[in-house]
């Protein structure tokens, strides 16, 4: 006899999967919480807390001493830095120049080095070490070294000028010429950071499928076509990481400027991070210093967040 009752209704597969995922997610998150908590607590205390406090202080006037009062001044500090501070816009433009140059030169150089040292090569490991070592040196040590190299009396330029009879080389004021000093410091930055980028790209290159590369070659692709159509797309996750790290490191550049010029000559190599520090700790203007730091934070977020969102969307679409 044919049954006339409808079979028991079964929940649709996507709905079951959704509830199961949410249950698993809740279970997974709760299970992970004890492991996340210490790092999360440290992050809140040492990163989020000081950031919030810094933003708060940007609306006050304060000399920085424990017993001194903090006077609420509203947006006065921001008005001062944007309209009255004779150094702010120099620091702002120098920071942007530094970021833009960082996106092309040390990043590009790191990629080129990684591509060159990813293939079998005699002494490959020695070369990799040579290029990476600057990345583990203390920035202030690098600053001191390059400052001596640029010394107008005893530096490399002066020595080479004497050796090869090039008097014009001895006259170049690498750190004394306002039009040249920032780029002289940037050269030291490239030397410091290119090796680190190289290591990151080398790690990313290990995930490029050799079969895809082989297939592209068999299809007649030349080296550039293989790189652009196979290698570079596969490096996208690594490129995001390197790009974000490069932007963040370049926006907060500090040590090299302090060690090589102190922001001079005549504040010509001043950058936002250092100017923020000097306003707070040298001039005892903590409100102004934190206003500059907040501007720096906003610039960083404006650059990094849209890029990461765009990249995430690209990955989701692909």
């Amino acid at each position: 006899m044919t049954s006339t009752t409808a079979p028991p209704r079964r929940a649709s597969r996507p709905a079951v999967a959704g509830r199961r995922t949410r249950r698993l997610a809740r279970t997974g998150f709760i299970a992970a919480l004890p492991f996340l908590a210490p790092a999360l607590a440290a992050y809140l205390v040492f990163v989020v807390g000081p950031t919030v406090e810094s933003i708060r202080l940007s609306f006050f006037e304060w000399s920085g001493f424990q017993g001194a009062p903090q006077e609420f001044v509203g947006v006065k500090n921001y008005v001062r830095i944007f309209t009255q501070d004779p150094v702010f816009w120099t620091a702002f433009s120098n920071t942007l120049v530094w970021v833009v140059l960082s996106l092309f030169i040390p990043l590009g150089l790191g990629l080129v080095l990684a591509l060159a040292l990813n293939r079998p090569l005699f002494g490959r490991n020695v070369f990799r070490s040579m290029f990476y070592i600057p990345g583990v040196l203390a920035p202030i040590a690098i600053a001191n070294m390059w400052r001596w190299m640029y010394n107008p009396n005893y530096g490399v330029g002066v020595t080479l000028a004497e050796l090869f009879n090039l008097p014009w080389l001895a006259e170049i004021q690498w750190l004394g010429d306002k039009n040249l000093a920032l780029y002289s410091i940037f050269a030291a930055f490239v030397w410091q950071i290119a090796g680190t980028n190289m290591v990151l790209f080398l790690a990313g290159l290990q995930s490029v499928s050799p079969e895809h590369v082989e297939a592209a070659r068999l299809d007649g692709a030349n080296a550039w076509q293989v790189f652009w159509n196979v290698t570079f797309p596969a490096l996208r996750p690594t490129t995001v990481v390197v790009l974000v790290l490069t932007i963040i490191n370049s926006i907060k550049v500090f040590d090299l400027i302090v060690g090589m010029t102190g922001g001079g000559p005549a504040q010509g190599t001043q950058v936002l991070a250092l100017w923020s520090f000097q306003q707070s700790f040298t001039n005892h203007e903590y409100g102004m210093g934190n206003a500059i730091a907040t501007v720096l934070l906003v610039i960083t977020l404006l650059i990094v967040v849209p890029y990461m969102v765009w990249t995430a969307r690209q990955e989701k679409n692909s």
């Binding site: 424990q66 004021q173 750190l175």
Partner: protein
């Protein structure tokens, strides 16, 4: 295996207890009081040795007190004070420049203990001169104990002067300029400065300001009773400064520090340097023949000498002010000051301690100091910290040709008006 975590936990707890015990406040260990003294690292090694000796002598005479000296370079010392004063990490005693712009910030922030009771207890008012006491009482109470009274002048290499045909030290500004020209014509760098430490080149600018403006206008300018934009002597000052920096200073001065530039003086590559009485020992320590070095006051045409005072202060929240005061009493005593001025400079802050057995080189300071009727102070001590930063920026813009000297005064006044 279960015992291992317990062992680790116990060991960690033990380590924490030991560490925290070691972090106990100064002076609690073995009943001995330890006071901390933040000061500058002296430029001359022998001066550092003298300080060590004075501290050792005090500790021997006071076995219940230990003095922990922490020395730093100029800018690092300023940073250490800013970040520790008013906190539990503050030293018991700290060195600071006595000028109202530089040292006054710490006083205004309440970082200094009023020492009136110690001045009475040790009768210090009689120990120090009127000039040095004025730096103590300038804020209304008794802040600090005089440490040094620094005089600055021009050191010159007699051999290089002779090489350029100069037979005597200049006694007027015009003669000084003529000497600089003669030195340059002889292929000798007339004067050396390190531009990355802005306070070094500032010494030239301040001296030119005194020369062009005179004592009264100089004081009016630094106390903001006169306008930098309106006084014509300010433009004259910056014009002269631009000439010196483009013609007579060591090439590339703007990108080296004072240690690097001073090496040019020690090695006979630069003829002059504007330094202070501490530099005598530095010259000796760097192997120069002191008989070849002369000293003359920058010929400003006024009767004031370039200089500044340095004091030691007791922190407002020091836990051991009595011990700190006892140490400062010893430091400024006849016995300690006699050792002190042998390596530190020509004059003691203690009026009863007179230079004895001086070398001819050190004795060159005596007529300079005796001829002076007053002091014009380094402007990084006169001006507020923010104004000093701007003063240096404009100084360097003029020095590098980026700012017309005629605009320098008004640029600085604009900043002062915004403060």
């Amino acid at each position: 295996m279960r015992a291992l975590p317990k062992v680790v936990a116990l060991s960690t707890a033990g380590l924490l207890v030991a560490t925290l015990g070691g972090c106990a406040s100064s002076g609690d260990a073995d009943g001995k009081t330890t006071i901390t003294w933040f000061k500058l690292t002296e430029t001359a090694d022998s001066a550092n040795a003298t300080i060590d000796e004075i501290v050792a002598d005090f500790e021997q005479a006071n076995p219940d007190i230990s003095v922990k000296v922490e020395e730093r370079a100029v800018d690092a010392h300023k940073d250490a004070l800013r970040t520790t004063l008013g906190t539990s990490g503050a030293p018991d005693v700290f060195f600071s420049w006595a000028g109202p712009g530089l040292g006054g910030e710490f006083i205004d922030a309440g970082a200094s203990l009023d020492l009136e009771k110690y001045y009475e207890q040790y009768d210090w008012s009689k120990r120090f001169s009127e000039t040095t006491m004025s730096t103590v009482t300038q804020y209304g109470g008794y802040d600090g104990v005089p440490y040094t009274q620094r005089t600055e002048a021009v050191f010159y290499n007699k051999d290089l002067f002779a090489q350029a045909g100069i037979t005597a030290a200049p006694t007027s500004y015009d003669e000084l300029v003529a000497d600089a020209k003669a030195l340059k014509a002889a292929g000798i760098t007339p004067i050396e400065f390190g531009g990355t430490v802005n306070w070094h080149v500032m010494r030239l600018l301040d001296s030119l300001l005194e020369t062009e403006c005179g004592a009264d206008t100089y004081q009016d300018l630094v106390t903001e009773e006169a306008s930098w934009a309106d006084e014509s002597c300010v433009t004259d000052t910056y014009t002269e400064f631009a000439t010196w920096t483009s013609e007579y200073l060591n090439p590339g001065f703007i990108s080296i520090n004072n240690d690097e530039s001073s090496s040019l003086f020690y090695s006979g590559k630069a003829a002059m340097a504007i330094e202070g009485d501490w530099f005598n020992q530095v010259v000796r320590d760097n192997g120069m023949d002191e008989s070849t070095v002369g000293i003359f006051a920058f010929p400003t045409g006024t009767d004031r000498i370039y200089g500044f005072n340095e004091n030691n202060y007791i922190s407002a929240n020091s836990k051991h002010p009595d011990a700190a005061a006892k140490f400062l009493d010893y430091l400024t005593s006849d016995e300690a000051q006699q050792k002190f001025i042998a390596t530190f400079g020509s004059r003691s802050v203690n009026v009863d301690v007179l230079p004895e057995g001086q070398s001819d080189f050190d004795a060159q300071w005596n007529p300079i100091v005796e001829a002076a009727k007053g002091v014009y102070m380094n402007n990084d001590q006169n001006l507020s910290l923010a104004e000093t930063t701007e003063y240096w920026r404009i100084q360097n813009l003029v020095a590098t040709g980026e700012l017309d000297p005629a605009d320098a005064g008004s640029e600085f006044q604009k900043f002062i008006d915004q403060e």
